[in-house]
Point group: C2
Chain length 243, copies 2
């Protein structure tokens, strides 16, 4: 099973203070870009893979979805998500995406934000999602960017000119990466960008659009600390289509 760091007390305490958890989607600078990648949600039955506190699940339901099923490995997250809604058309379940079984031909849209880099086996999940979607539907997901994840010691350094620079090493060596992020030894799985795209294609998806989040001019004016996001992409956003 995937590591469930979100039920680590120390991790959860820190994680819960992130702007994107305190303020929800308004605290996630990539959210305006994600919105441009979402299909029309009206009357859609949606699955949210790695739903966390359920911010996106509730937003999608409020924006036309007929129902949303949010899945997350963390009991902490699911409990909080359940507290935040009484909508009978939103369901949250504790589920390990590494081993999840989904019904065939059951959903009109699949969404996943910042969860898939915790999975050892992306092939299995991609095939599962493809089979769970109805024809003519989309899978939109956000993962940590491989440029952000690859290095053995991913922290800013200075280049030969003294410029703030992101380190890349071991890019082609896929597999486990350990970082200290609110807790020691958080486990993620690095895959090259090519691997992720090819896994989707082999699962039957067509690639519809890719984005690498960078702040807009307006965001830079309001949140100058986002400027470092111009230096290297932290997030990869993918829209994949099942014909």
């Amino acid at each position: 099973m995937a590591q469930n760091i979100y039920d680590n007390t120390e991790f959860f305490a820190g994680y819960s203070q992130l702007p994107r958890q305190v303020y929800g989607l308004d605290g996630a600078p990539e959210w305006p870009l994600i919105q441009t990648m979402l299909p029309d949600l009206t009357n859609k039955n949606i699955i949210d893979l790695g739903c966390g506190f359920g911010w996106a699940s509730r937003w999608m339901r409020a924006n036309g979805a007929a129902s949303v099923l949010g899945l997350d490995i963390s009991e902490n997250m699911i409990n909080r998500a359940r507290e935040l809604t009484s909508d009978p058309e939103i369901e949250y379940n504790i589920t390990d995406l590494e081993t999840v079984s989904l019904p065939v031909n059951a959903y009109d849209f699949a969404y996943s934000a910042l969860a898939l880099h915790y999975l050892r086996d992306l092939d299995r999940l991609a095939r599962m999602v493809h089979s769970a979607l109805k024809p003519n539907s989309d899978f939109v997901f956000i993962v940590e960017h491989p440029i952000y994840m690859a290095a053995s010691n991913p922290q800013w350094l200075l280049d030969h000119d003294g410029r703030k620079t992101w380190p890349v090493n071991g890019y082609s060596i896929e597999g486990q990466r350990q970082t200290d992020w609110f807790a020691k030894g958080v486990i993620k799985y690095h895959r090259t960008l090519a691997s992720m795209i090819n896994i989707l294609i082999k699962s039957g998806f067509n690639i519809a659009r890719i984005e690498e989040y960078a702040p807009t001019q307006e965001q830079l004016e309001n949140m100058p600390y986002l400027a470092e996001e111009l230096e290297r992409p932290m997030m990869l956003l993918v829209s994949a289509h099942k014909a």
Copy 2:
């Protein structure tokens, strides 16, 4: 028009000594990977965009192509390419890919190796290639990888642990990059990986496969100096399909 560094005497003298020019395709470690991305070439009319000395043009003709048209901005390159064949079904023309006009529905396969990162306007070329291809055909190209190209001073450095590391900065800031490579002020154009993929999709292509060249175990045993290519990808390989 695109910078024509290949007709700079100093540049050309250095460039001509690269293993991939002296030994042809056998000197290009990415060539075995490229071969796995090529369609069956039998009886195909092929265009080779940025053909250089024409190594790939001649290989494709020798491997079943009915004809190959190789285009390159450099008179030096085209002259050498012409010297290397007397095959009437291989034609080489001096052409700037930035402004090239291609006949509609004329080719069965389009190939380009390490040329497109010299172009300021990739949209125009992608649309031109799509229109020049017949239905049910492919466009396979290799470009310098945006991870390799992004930084203002792209040279190895050491991370906080003393590990050999590639610098990434300015990734989201697209546009001109100047490097010194056999000559001062070689101009290339950095585009994010997302931009390149989205340009192809908007031009009407389906993304069929992406690769980021890394050496195989066998290559590492025979050419240990290739180990640094595991640290960061230097080349992006794309197979795009016109339905």
